[in-house]
């Protein structure tokens, strides 16, 4: 099976029911996506699969042949952050930060389909992503900031 992760192609032999999350974390050592619940209840594991945000704990390895996966590491780097990551830095969203990789990936997907989201759009897109530290007001502010930056 062949999967492209952040632009790098990998040949992988694992059980078909291994979730993408664990394929990334424990087989490929890509640690940005986080394990929070394993049942699609928290969003900490969110990645882009062929450009669309998915819960990587719910995607099975067996369905991945030929797929393109982007994790938070594939968006940008500390030296050259992606516009959404930049907005996250400017608004200082993170507290513990554990949920933020997933939040950022979900926001990237939202802004891709809805470059100028309303409050309701933000609510709809982001309500599957849990933040136990309750950084929610700043998540909203960062999405607004990123939308403005991209629109400008």
């Amino acid at each position: 099976m062949q999967v492209t992760v952040n632009g790098t192609s990998h040949q992988i032999e694992v059980e078909p029911d291994m979730p993408l999350l664990w394929l990334l974390r424990d087989e490929l050592g890509i640690l940005g996506p986080k394990y929070g619940c394993g049942i699609a209840a928290c969003g900490a594991c969110t990645v882009l699969l062929d450009g669309v945000a998915v819960r990587s704990c719910q995607v099975q390895a067996g369905d991945l042949d030929g797929a393109e996966v982007t994790t938070v590491e594939g968006l940008g780097t500390p030296e050259a952050p992606h516009p959404v990551q930049k907005a996250w830095i400017e608004e200082q969203v993170a507290q513990c930060g554990y949920c933020q990789s997933g939040q950022i990936m979900q926001a990237v997907d939202l802004l891709r389909t809805t470059p100028n989201p309303t409050d309701e759009d933000i609510d709809d897109a982001m309500s599957g992503n849990l933040c136990r530290c309750a950084s929610y007001p700043r998540i909203r502010a960062a999405i607004r900031r990123a939308a403005q930056a991209e629109g400008a």
Partner: protein, 744 residues
């Protein structure tokens, strides 16, 4: 500031002599030099100027010993050091340093004394100062009680200043000039001719000098403190490059998980592992304390195999379900036994006026930080290394040493930042379990991760509690208030798990109730200790997390019965100026004009004085077709000097939203001796679409230095309950509120 310091120090010495009353240990421990842990394996040519600053040829490391569980502890500690040391805190390295008693935290035990934090009298001050000595003696290397900043504020700046001046002295001696002729900037000493000498080159010279005690800079000269800061970890946490315990990756590492009896100490009678053993990637399955460990080559494979094991658990004593647990609380209340009565003013039984009697209940709550419990341990007979995120790393070393049978000195703890805690990372179970597993694989690191299901069903809980309230009103005023609170003792349970007894009453059972700064003429607060059954723990703001709700709801009911305004009557009763200040500020922020701003809308007030911080909140709700919706929260707090307004906002709004989220939706309930909630779908919290607008104000009118991680929580739930009453006429006396009302 200099004067204050001197007074504090003198009080400290006198107080310790007077209070200790012959306990020579206190004085001796205070005078004794605390061992410097960094000297132990310092490389040749490196100088450690004090335990908080490490400089060698490779660079500068700021040691920030307080755990970072998301509250920004590393960043503020680094900024405190850097302000005096003259380095860029986002460029130099930070490290939690080794677990060591040198990093004692005097402020934790200071707040354990039953002396109201607003009480600045002599007895209160000396009591607190004496416990600073005790903290040093017992070597509490601990993060908790919102004490990081208060404890670090002087210590870290003094450390930075001492390091800076000692480095300058090294240059002064080298060049034969006066130290005063030198300045410092961005990690360099600047010579009179403008030559820049990097600190890293001066380390060896400075090591040979007696460290210089330097006066602290006037806050008016601060460059970073007091202004909006950029957290040192913000780039890493926004780019997926921050590393947590769950990300520890070591050569040849094994992955593991555990499944244990839902009852702590209940044991395991037998297990059937046939199916699990045959699954791919499984290295070993064996019994550990109270259950089984599954070791594999991948975390998911371990968790998947663990789910197939059939267990026959050992004995499960105590009440099996919530009904039985509530009955224990009721029995404790009915017994008349009491744990504490720190407040008994006037005569509540004879107080005149119209009487009100009520009862309130709060459920068990889980910390449930988003990063599941995990630890990595590498055991060899000579030395054991532990990687985990913990708020009390010296205790981790002790607990692990107990498992491995080694001396504490043979256990090295590498502390890591944590994906949340809320008090959870004061527990040890997953660390000692990992040590048990690692002993089966000497020389190989084992990273053990709890599945979310194991994590959710093996909690250390915020206690459930019942409060019986009574009071009277007369002439439009609150005349008396009598509150009796029954809960398990967190101190008894938590410290007991470490093997220590706890003497005396537990202040936490009545925290933020007995010392609520209201001048109600007849007033009594009684704590009742419920016998220990379910393990309970310090949950964000500890006892204040329920007592804020109990006290402020009872007070609100009395104010309503009196026909008074919720803000005006509280202001009339508050006898502590900063407490009045925060309520006035919140009312101003909300443009308060009574509890009913319009049809279908309601506003509620909550106030609490906890962890030395008065905090007032006003919550507004509106009724919609889909249910109640929170629209606004206004928060005002007095933490004294605001060191970082950005983080103050994050901590206070985070605390309030955390409190609201649990007040609305969350509870852990028991059936058949086990929690009924298995994952976040059963333990819901507030989601983005339910989050109100939040405004925060830090008053900054006192010279205090206080932490903000916890005080934002206690006023939130009563403010919401009181708002719902104002909007609907329905009085909510038990949490979670979603049991009784629908939220949009």
């Amino acid at each position: 500031m200099g004067k204050l310091r001197t007074i504090a120090r003198r009080t400290f010495l006198i107080g310790s002599a007077a209070i200790a009353g012959g306990v020579a240990f206190g004085v001796w421990a205070y005078r004794r030099d605390v061992e410097n842990p960094l000297l132990a394996d310092l490389p040749e040519g490196a100088a450690t100027l004090n335990p908080y600053v490490l400089i060698d040829a490779d660079g500068i490391t700021l040691i920030t010993p307080r755990a970072d569980v998301g509250q920004g502890a590393v960043s503020i500690q680094a900024h405190l050091l850097a302000e005096e040391l003259d380095v860029d805190p986002s460029v130099v390295r930070t490290s939690f340093g080794p677990a060591s008693s040198a990093y004692y935290n005097g402020k934790v035990s200071a707040e354990g004394f039953p002396l109201a934090a607003w009480d600045d009298g002599f007895v209160a001050r000396t009591g607190r100062a004496a416990s600073d000595v005790i903290g040093k003696f017992t070597g509490l290397h601990l993060t908790g009680g919102s004490t990081t900043v208060p404890d670090a504020y002087d210590k870290l700046r003094a450390a930075g200043a001492s390091a800076r001046e000692t480095l300058k002295e090294a240059v002064a001696q080298r060049l034969g000039v006066e130290r005063d002729a030198l300045s410092t900037e961005d990690g360099h000493v600047i010579a009179p001719d403008g030559t820049r000498l990097p600190y890293t080159e001066l380390a060896a010279d400075a090591a040979a000098l007696e460290p210089i005690e330097a006066p602290l800079r006037d806050p008016a000269q601060w460059r970073a403190l007091g202004k909006p800061m950029r957290r040192t970890d913000i780039v890493a946490k926004s780019t997926g490059t921050a590393r947590y315990g769950t990300d520890v990756t070591l050569p040849d590492m094994l992955h593991a998980t555990v499944v244990t009896n839902p009852v702590l100490g209940g044991g395991m009678a037998s297990m059937d592992v046939a199916e699990a053993e045959a699954m791919p990637g499984i290295v070993a399955i064996y019994a550990i304390t109270d259950g089984a460990a599954v070791v594999a080559d991948n975390t998911w494979r371990a968790i998947k195999a663990a789910q197939t094991i059939r267990f026959d658990w050992g004995p499960q004593d105590g009440p099996a379900d919530n009904d039985g647990l509530w009955a224990l609380h009721e029995a404790a209340l009915d017994s008349g036994d009491r744990d504490s009565r720190f407040t008994d003013e006037g005569d509540v039984d004879a107080a005149p006026g119209t009487r009100l009697d009520t009862e309130y209940r709060v459920p068990f709550l889980h910390h449930a930080p988003l990063e599941p419990a995990n630890a990595t341990v590498l055991y060899t007979p000579e030395r054991t290394q532990v990687w985990t995120a913990h708020q009390a790393p010296t205790f981790v070393a002790q607990q692990v040493a107990k498992v491995t049978g080694q001396d504490t000195e043979q256990v090295e703890v590498h502390n890591l930042q944590s994906g949340g805690s809320f008090g959870h990372r004061l527990e040890f179970l997953w660390v000692t379990q990992t040590a048990e597993i690692a002993m089966q694989h000497p020389g190989r690191p084992v990273r053990m991760t709890w599945s979310r299901e194991q994590d959710m069903t093996h909690p250390f809980l915020r206690p459930m509690a019942i409060a019986r309230g009574a009071g009277t009103t007369e002439g439009g005023q609150v005349r008396s208030l009598d509150l009796t609170i029954a809960a398990q003792s967190v101190a008894e349970s938590q410290v007991g798990r470490l093997g220590f007894p706890v003497m005396g009453p537990d202040v936490a059972i009545v925290a933020a109730a007995w010392d609520a700064p209201y001048a109600i003429p007849d007033r009594r607060v009684t704590g009742v200790r419920v016998p220990a059954t379910i393990p309970v723990s310090s949950w964000r703001s500890v006892g204040a997390s329920h007592n804020g709700f109990f006290f402020e709801t009872l007070l609100d009911e009395l104010i309503h019965q009196a026909g008074a305004d919720p803000v005006a009557e509280r202001l009339r009763l508050l006898h502590h100026a900063p407490s009045r200040g925060v309520l006035e500020a919140a009312a101003e922020m909300a443009s308060w004009d009574g509890p009913q701003p319009g049809p279908g809308r309601g506003r509620g007030v909550g106030f609490a004085f906890s962890f030395g911080v008065p905090c007032a909140q006003i919550v507004e709700v509106e009724q919609t077709d889909a249910g109640l919706r929170l629209t606004d929260v206004w928060i005002a707090a007095e933490v004294g000097r605001v060191l970082d307004p950005v983080n103050l906002d994050a901590q206070l709004s985070g605390g309030a939203l955390f409190g609201l989220s649990h007040a609305m939706f969350s509870e852990i309930t028991f059936a058949d001796h086990a929690p009924e909630q298995w994952n976040y779908d059963g333990y819901e919290g507030m989601r983005q679409w339910q989050v109100p607008r939040v405004q925060v104000r830090g008053l900054g009118t006192t010279g205090d230095i206080r932490g903000a991680g916890e005080p934002g929580l206690p006023p939130a739930a009563p403010a919401l309950g009181n708002a719902i009453f104002a909007a609907t006429g329905q009085r909510l006396r038990q949490m979670p509120f979603a049991r009784d009302v629908d939220f949009a």
